[in-house]
Amino acid sequence: MKALLKYLLASLVVLLSACSDNPWNSPYPAADAGKNTLYSAFSERPKHLDPVQSYSSNEILLTAQIYEPPLQYHYLKRPYTLIPATTAKMPVAQYFDKNGANLPDGADIAQIAYTIYEISIKPGIRYQPHPAFAKNEQGEFLYHDLTTEDLTKVYKLADFPHTGTRELTAEDYVFEIKRLAHPRLHSPILGLMSDYIVGLKEYSATLKTAAEAQVGQEGSDAYLDLNSYSLEGAQVVDTHTYRIKIKGKYPQFMYWLAMPFFAPIPWEAERFYTQQGLAKKNITLDWYPVGTGPYMLTENDPNRVMILERNPNFHGETYPSEGMQRDEKAGLLVDAGKPLPFIDRVIFSRDKESIPRWNKFLQGYYDASGIGSDSFDQAVQLTGQGEATVTEAMKAQGIRLEKEVATSTYYMGFNMLDPVVGGPSQSARKLRQAISIAVDYEEYVSIFANGRGIPAQGPIAPGISGHRDGKEGINPVVYDWLNERPQRKPIAVAKALLAEAGYPNGMDAKTGAPLVLYFDVTARGADDKSSLDWIRKQFQKINIQLVVRSTDYNRFQDKIRKGNAQIFEWGWNADYPDPENFLILLSGAERKVDNDGQNAANYNNPEYNHLFEQMKNMEDSLERRQIIDHMVKILRQDAPWLWGYHPKDYGLYHAWYGNVKPNKLSNNNIKYFRIDGSLREQKRREWNEPVLWPVALGLMVLVASLVPAVIAYRRRERGTGTRHTLPAAQEPGAGNA
């Protein structure tokens, strides 16, 4: 017994001494204290890390640090500007007519049969260390012919003892473009790119046939060697140069070249991961990326933690030395010209619930945080000028707020196929305009988004070419320009429009029946009741009865696809900073019902469609902006959407987190960030001193409550009679049920 007590005491001392350097509530090992590590959280596990399949923001957060497409966005410059990532210089589009003759830059679009982008990558870029490249002394791949025995002790990628690397070549980029059409992969952009990359559609069919033939001979998981099949639209010129051939003219293609879909994949990786037995151990290219970027994924447990570590083979990129005027003041150019990345390790911990995430941020265990509506008042206050800033409590912790208008839009759409609210008639148009005035998005943003949004004047988000600020940018159907700011028209104007639409005072002039409209939403919890009540109230302002039809997300999508909804809410995040990416949402060719496209409102205005076709392939120019202005004017008059609002993203950052400039389009930003590990460590200790008195108090209360019980027990025992008991075996009744 004494020995046991000694052992327990010794263990306690060891435990306490181990804890002494690290706050007790620290979720990280003491050995990591003060290291140059960025701590972040993720709530939803990524589904795909293969760049050809990955499209969600939580996936791109990882893939963008690992894979390097040829281009990237400048970190500091606004409007968003493309710059080379792995290319030696920006690719220049070359236009050709149907006879193959080179055309000048300003050539008529009708003449352009195809465009060629010749892309030259920088020599000397090398892949991260990876077993797919490992070779023996004879130059043969070590792990390209794995047997079942080889895999007995392999549970994760790190269990392969040898790794190798090689130089990035143009062939790797071409290989990835071919992978868009791989029959066993699901690239979300295959459909779109098949319309542009010459031969991709046919290539997809060829690969499908080849894969089907292969299934019969070698099984469904056999390696399909894409290099055996040539794609006209993507050709290798030399080791460091490749060409992409695009049908007609498509200037937005350059933006796609900044997305991970066009990042390089070495054939060795595909060959390695296709081997039998690896998929059973979840060792696939979809889970273990192979890139040339600043980081590599060294721990992949999407249920708990994902760790990125500095890629030792990363080529020498440097921090930008120019930015916007205010960037210098904000200290964002202090690191100009210094080699990237600054941070050695990035730890993404999985925290599914917002409350633990928020509290860990406040304790210093996460370096940055978004702001949920529950914690908004705790984090943000408005100054006298209406400017959002952090509260005093946050300020005292050195936390700062960064804001950026997202390149997104949340809108309320009318189904243009609906007989009441849809269609091009004057009556329906005026009804939509009346509703556009009645639904007060300024109030909505203030109440339900904590002021984090800008009421939209049209479909194009701020920061995108074609968006106009100030007086010339207002929607004259809904707003007047008064006192140097847009002012929503009075409700009397909405009522007058409603009367002109044939519904005076909200009653159908023909039938005398009240006007009842239907708002289709996805099933929501009690938390959203207030916002739905608010929307009903907005319609009630002009005496329209709004019936909320709540359904699950699947049924809601089904209704939208079939055109059975009347009024609905939807949103859009821009893929790239071009107005075409927003205006396409109302293009007739993209109607949801007929074409299963992106136009959920099924809006179809021939004039708009014509202008869209004209505008979409133009370079950014005055002429293009004039066409966009005209298109936006048409949209405002037709009002197929209530333009809703453009959300503002608020982010909180600790004092030790540097070089942060929110960038809504670029995802490979971690390489620019800087962390002051020693300041973080000091603050963590300061903020997380263990409070022991409640434990002591609890023990005292427990002891105090036990004393009378023990006394009562002893008294009762004494009262029972003899304390000498018989052995159990002799006691009658023992063991009886």
Partner: protein, 325 residues
């Protein structure tokens, strides 16, 4: 006994088929294979061809339960239900919709689930029985009265409240343990303290009251009166006689849940960031991953049946009068 166990295992087959059928029906009443494909492929730029391809690859392009186009037995076997269910009875759970191997996931997530559930179960059993015995010992006194009041109060509070309240007090205000997270090996210990404490407290009300009722019922029996008439101290009566005889109902409740400990807790694992099977199930439901939902329901049913068989076996161990025929 062996015959009995074999017979019970055979009875389990129709039960599992039934559970599988109900899960299948409920799932596909709410979701269609198209919905599942859209959920996996995302909202943006999903073409009908991509949806068809996704369904074809996973066998969701077949009829649900009955195939008109086929002949003979194929009318039933060339269906989603048969193809997905048959493999599962061979413990081949296949792949989740995101491509990860389900059996691998289950294996790797079982331990974290068990790391919380087992201490909560064992510690809970000790604490609840101790308190229940104390209340029974002090029956009809202020200790018993306030004990029952406390139990009712504890029962009336949502488990979510305990979790959030515990995280707030113990981790946020007092900085004693991490709010959430999980570590590998011994490092997991500090993450388990809070969920275990909260798990024990949140179950204390109902369990303690239940055990108290069992003890009081036992204490009213003739053999207890006889023991007391012999002049045995109350502690001997309680711990040697009442506790031993109350083991049967306690075992009924306890043994049946032992296999289910592997499945973890749906809410606690999400809040404490424990990468267990409860969290896995919630993720699968949210992402409409039928393959995982089906596997987890199957596993849950199977473990429950095993639990019931273990309970029957344990009866024979604690009560020699019971024989399994």
């Amino acid at each position: 006994m062996l015959n009995y166990i074999i017979r019970r295992m055979l009875y389990a087959i129709p039960i599992l088929i039934g559970v599988n059928l109900i899960t299948f029906t409920l799932f596909f009443v709410v979701n269609t294979p198209d919905d599942m494909a859209r959920m996996q492929l995302g909202i943006k730029r999903v073409t009908p061809e991509a949806i068809e391809k996704w369904k074809h690859e996973r066998g969701y392009d077949k009829p649900l339960i009955f195939s008109e186009a086929e002949q003979g037995a194929a009318k039933f076997t060339h269906t989603i239900f048969f193809e997905k269910s048959a493999a599962m009875f061979a413990f081949d759970f296949g792949q989740a919709d995101d491509g990860r191997d389900i059996a691998y996931e289950i294996k790797s997530r079982m331990l974290p689930s068990l790391a919380i559930a087992l201490p909560v179960f064992l510690l809970g059993l000790v604490v609840y029985i101790t308190f229940a015995l104390a209340m029974a010992f002090f029956r009809a006194t202020y200790v018993d009265f306030w004990g029952v009041v406390l139990c009712v109060a504890l029962m009336s509070i949502s488990s979510l409240f305990y979790i959030i309240g515990g995280q707030f007090l113990i981790s946020k205000l007092w900085h004693l343990v991490p709010i959430s997270g999980y570590g590998s090996g011994l490092d997991a210990g500090k993450f388990l303290v809070l969920p275990v404490i909260i798990g024990v407290i949140s179950g204390a009300g109902a369990s303690t009251r239940w055990y108290r009722t069992i003890f009081l019922e036992e204490m009213g029996k003739d053999y207890v009166r006889t023991a007391r008439a012999k002049g045995l101290p109350e502690s001997i009566v309680l711990f040697r006689h009442v506790l031993r005889n109350a083991m049967i109902p306690i075992l009924t409740g306890a043994v049946v849940v032992i296999p289910l400990l592997f499945l973890g807790s749906l809410i606690a694992e999400s809040f404490f960031g424990i990468p267990g099977l409860g969290s896995y199930t919630i993720d699968a439901i949210n992402s409409q991953d039928f393959a995982v939902v089906r596997a987890m329901v199957f596993l849950g049913s199977l473990l429950y049946i095993i639990g019931l068989i273990l309970t029957d076996i344990s009866y024979t161990l604690v009560d020699p009068r019971i024989r399994l025929e």
